[in-house]
Amino acid sequence: MEQFLNFLQQILSTPSILVGLIALIGLVAQKKPIEVVIKGTIKTILGFIVIGAGAGVLVGALNYFGNLFNFAFAVQGVVPNNEAIVSLALNTYAKDTAIIMALGMVANLLLARFSRMKYIFLTGHHTLYMAALIAVVLTVGGLESGSWQLYVGGSMLLGLTMVFFPAIAQKTMVKITGDDSIAFGHFGTLGYVFSAWIGSLVGKGSKSTEDIKFPKRLSFLRDTSVAISLTMFIFFVLVTFAAVIKPDFDATVLGGTHWFLFSIIQSLTFAAGVYVVLAGVRLVLAEIVPAFKGISEKIVPDAKPALDCPVVFPYAENAVLLGFLVSFAGGLVGLAILFALQGTLNPALILPGVIPHFFCGATSGVFGNATGGRRGAILGAFGHGLLITFLPAMLMPVMGSLGFANTTFSDADFTAVGILIGNIANFVKGTGLLAVCVGLFVLPIVYNVVAPKKAKS
């Protein structure tokens, strides 16, 4: 008997199996035929293992990069990439992340049902990443890994982010799409709202970006793997070169390879790792997202689906390209500012990752254009580029041991939530922190009950 219980406990504490069980329950609850249940469960477990394998691939390249950067410039250099940091976080926090994600979706349903923020967050990979972030910062804040306090606090917090961020983007979304039927669900929202706000300040009388003729050839960068390979190659070449020309450089670090070849191989190895992680995430979500969508349509039929950022791209294609370029430029300027702060505040140097600037920068361009035309798109996206450079630098200190990784979260909401909760955790630890999470969760529900309702017209 004891042996059996031990076995059961082992199953429940193996993250990949746990995620598989969540998918299994979801599939059975939807009364799927047995072969679909088996296929879906296996694929979900497989996906989780694939993510771990991807982490193994990219961490090698990342460590080389970090060490060379540190040697060359005597400061920590960080490439923000959600997939990289999540795959690293899952090495330690996989079980916590899985449970927070599953319960967090339940919390999302509850809030959509009982508060006025009627949104269902359907961007599954961002739910997973946010769950990982929350698991990390709450654990650093004293809610023990594996404890019910962590699961309750974490899932409530996750559920809240899943309705709060779509809610603050909705006003501009209506402007972009022309109706109120869909919402925006992508955890870079603070950057987009910031961009829309700048647009509304500066954009008076500015024409829409869509009247400009633009060369289309940069669109090949929309291919994620190509974009990551290219930027990482540029970073690696610069950093490796800067290290090699130092007189006290130890050439054995490169394993006898020429530094240029080394740069090519390591940058592509990093991109390969991200590619594998993405494939794993795709497998994990394949059953979970449709189940969540199906259940939510039954329980809260009047809620709006909050969708991934490319839903707004077709509404303003030029703003997409302009937003990317300008946000990237903002990232470079931000990097220069971080560099100037060395010697006083000593922040980590955040390099402009092409993926966050492409997807989030593009989206902030669309939001800026909606409120302030060309001027709004340019200045808004530039502000966004600065924002997603400074926020990751401020996030690093609250990430515990992961703060020393050479990568971190990139998009604005991940970093902002991490900074906020991480700093609250500096003052209230353990049970107090749990109380804060519960309080934040209950607040919008209480507001819905207590505050007077607007008369329906």
């Binding site: 929309r222 994620t224 190509v226 969708l307 991934d308 839903v311």
Partner: protein, 98 residues
């Protein structure tokens, strides 16, 4: 032409393409078309012959249209638009009767 596989694609193959996949399944079911495999992927994974038909948003058309027949959605999450374009295509190909 036979129609065995439909592939929906977007930038990183996680969010939007997944949603389009769910919508394509919904539309196919409504039109009574069976035995078609529907999947989603990143732009990186698309090659000639990867599928008999691709579906993507307007922003991805430059990448995808080189690889085969492609349904381009103005509004990537609109089911009515997808249904109209997909059923037109299926009629053209003789998969369903006009």
């Amino acid at each position: 032409m036979k129609l065995e596989k439909i592939l929906c694609a977007c930038g990183s193959g996680l969010g939007s393409s997944f949603l389009v996949e769910m919508n394509v399944n919904k539309v196919l079911k409504k039109l009574g078309v069976e035995d078609v495999e529907v999947a989603h992927c990143a732009a990186t994974d698309v090659y000639k012959g990867a599928a008999d038909l691709f579906v993507c948003g307007k922003d991805m058309v430059d990448i995808l249209s080189a690889y085969g027949p492609c349904i381009v959605l103005q509004n990537i999450i609109s089911v009515p638009e997808l249904e109209a374009k997909l059923s037109d295509y299926l009629k053209e190909q003789g998969v369903i009767s006009a």
